[in-house]
Symmetry: C2
Subunit: 459 residues, 2 copies
């Protein structure tokens, strides 16, 4: 009670929610887990963020920063109750500058809204998470979320020049700057990106922009096996210009597409690659022809260049609809985000088929194959405890496989709550100790998104 | 004495130098300052690096890591004496993998040697410092050194996937990994890159590679004023495909080129832009034609596309020869590395002309204009104390100008010793405190490259 009063005094005109029905709206994310906070602050300004943190640190209350709640690992869930700090109302695009190729935005700006504002200026921000229509830039930064275009353009951390953020004790900090080169001071910008709101709360970001490609072409290649498609990816990545997207859809994914009825697919197709090239109006068809030739050498069952803008749109809409469709067809899915070096992709997909066969748990895998990044979905029935137990064993086997192939447990979804207890298997122990010490530097009281991103300290 | 014996015991077969004549060879860098260490360790392995650090930490002796000594800010100079830890013998390329597009290299690998090893595989590592023939990859990482290609490909930090490093107390740590996506744990990789050997000593790096562009074309545009050339840069960067290089040479630089006699230049030319495009054999001429059209709209005095490989070579050789030539023609130069947002480049060059005119100190400026990064050289006579005093005033005015234009004091040379006392003007005070705390986490005893990269703590 006292905290609520103190909070309301501290945050001034910002909205404080405490009614159970209102709190319920901030108790979920894309994991399906529900954890209700004790209060929600809807901040409008960095000053209100700072006031919230000062107040909560003094009271020893946990603060969980939150964007749009589209995360897949529970990063926005208030594990210890306390305050959810929503940044959705901080959604101003403060500035876009063409010559400097920068946009200064607040964390609550929806990803697609930013891209729409940039389009008329011939610019884009290269990171492209599939949840573009709802996810926020702040969430993209917190998780270092990427997407299909990372194979060509790099990941989120490569497209941020500077940050404004608030530390756990409510001090405003600025890192980086507005220039595309700069080496003064340690790189706090990239330390905060991907730190999942456990070090500071980002209140503004200076984003580096790229010229929006003038023209795009999409190609679709079908293969008789997932391993053959994976081998083709490795071959494509070993030479020549990097495509703007190299997406892989496995056998179970094609079955799902057939069920959705959106794409006509020959029966013998067991895997699909979706590729994209981009360039100028003058060069794009040459680039597409070059990629087509390289793909032909991988001996696909069928290779098609999309003939029209509509066909391109329908291909990529089918790709974007996969995750929502899975929700519809399976009672529950466990959604993984593993990555292996591209040369190991065929070994990964072969291993996945074996794990699924041996366990009897259906798996649907698709994703950003040019980065070796696959979203592996285990379809399970949460009411069947035997299945759930078996799924936990399979997950552990999957992680062991990925690490044995020199991969990582998350490419873009983050660690959050869901991967927290597994990442000590991946992280170097000395690096982990240093990370825990860095957490203490930024958040000595441990109020910022506790229980996320790092393993719990062994006591 | 005791330390020398302890060191030799600790490092086993590694070479320990302590003879004054030998130490002299490790007392310099590109600044011209000489500071002799008390001993030099030539390490062959990460274990020897660790043993050196353990021994020196126990003795409370400073350790200055050193690559090829090509740095411009005194980063490799042993400010407090102690041990210089040379990594030049750790020069193995451990692995190159085409499909994964990675190279695993030791810090002493010379930049050009790496590029030569990558060329037959159709790959490159995009960072391209002008000192490629002598600088080491370890030095590139320590300073986050970039070069001309950063305008298109990004900077060094964008092309590193993982690091192996040794902490101040001699523990081996691994950060990042081998995949092009990965978000597990805080980003220690980028925290170490650009930290100038003050946090840990890098003993190996997993570098991300890019396909080597099949074809390149160079363009040369001459302008009647530096401001007109700077305006053209802003216009080129505001639209269309990003060139692979956008270099600016100012009036004094053209005078130097005329004196060197390498390029024939019309008398009215006061500034030059050198630009490059890259693409496939099929697309490169289309891209060059597109850039040529965009440049024409900037109304240059003269615009030439290099007709032959020899002509391209001679243009870029002239560019690379500028720094060495300056050494020849001026008794001493103070070499700055400022950056401003591209939209402010014309304001910067106008300000530079005014500063030079008002102070009577000749300045030669050239550099990576597409990133807003200019190397400003103040030509001074170190024997003339009045000039040297005036130069210090001009430097302070230059930094004030750069910061007023939202720029940074260093784009790629780093802070080292030379900029240390100025960067508190640029860094946010809260960010600075956090950086000093991070330094304490990695190096509580303060033995790693003391007095570099960060301002001295105010006592």
């Amino acid at each position: 009670m006292t905290l609520l009063h103190q909070l309301q005094q501290a945050i001034g005109t910002a909205t404080l929610l405490s009614h159970p029905a209102e709190l319920e709206s901030y108790a979920w994310d894309n994991t399906g887990i529900r954890l209700r906070p004790d209060a929600v602050v809807l901040a409008d300004t960095a000053e209100q963020v700072a006031a919230t943190l000062r107040c909560c640190q003094a009271a020893g209350v946990a603060v969980t920063p939150r964007g749009a709640g589209t995360g897949n690992v529970g990063g926005a869930l208030p594990l210890q109750g306390g305050v959810v700090l929503s940044l959705q109302r901080m959604n101003r695009i403060r500035e876009i500058n063409r010559q400097d190729r920068v946009a200064v935005v607040e964390p609550g700006v929806v990803h697609a809204d930013l891209q729409q504002a940039l389009r008329p200026m011939g610019l884009c921000w290269p990171p492209d998470p599939t949840s573009t229509r709802s996810c926020t830039v702040g969430g993209n930064l917190a998780m270092c979320a990427a997407g299909a275009s990372a194979v060509r353009w790099g990941v989120t951390r490569d497209w941020v020049l500077g940050l404004e953020a608030v530390t756990a004790d409510g001090r405003l900090l600025r890192s980086g700057g507005r220039t595309t080169k700069g080496v003064v001071g340690y790189d706090l910008t990239r330390l905060l990106i991907g730190s999942e709101g456990t070090l500071a709360v980002i209140t503004a970001a200076t984003l580096q922009l790229a010229p929006r490609p003038e023209a795009r072409r999409s190609l679709r290649a079908l293969f008789g096996s997932v391993a053959a498609a994976a081998e083709a990816v490795a071959q494509i990545m070993a030479e020549g210009e990097t495509p703007a997207a190299v997406e892989l859809l496995d056998t179970a994914t094609l079955a799902l597409l057939r069920r959705m009825g959106t794409l006509a697919l020959p029966q013998q197709a067991q895997a699909m690659l979706l590729l994209e090239v981009c360039g100028t109006a003058a060069t794009v068809d040459l680039l597409a022809a070059d990629l087509e030739q390289r793909l032909e050498r991988c001996a696909p069952l069928e290779l098609q260049r999309a003939r029209s803008a509509e066909e391109v749109e329908s291909i990529w809409q089918a790709r974007a609809a996969l995750s929502p469709a899975l929700k519809k067809y399976a009672p529950k899915r466990i959604n993984e985000d593993v990555v292996v070096p591209v040369s190991q992709l065929a070994a990964l997909v072969t291993g996945l088929e074996r794990l699924s066969h041996d366990s009897g748990i259906p798996m649907v895998s698709f994703g950003h194959a040019g980065n070796g990044n696959l979203h592996v979905n285990l379809l399970v029935n949460p009411a069947d405890q035997a299945i759930m137990d078996r799924a936990m064993v399979v997950l552990q086997q999957l992680f062991a496989l990925v690490l044995s192939l020199q991969g990582t447990l998350s490419g873009e979804h983050g660690v959050g709550l869901q991967k927290r207890d597994f990442i000590a298997q991946e992280l170097d122990p000395v690096a982990l100790v240093l990370q825990q010490q860095i957490k203490k530097v930024f958040d000595p009281a441990g109020i910022l998104n506790p229980g996320k991103a790092l393993p719990l300290p062994s006591s």
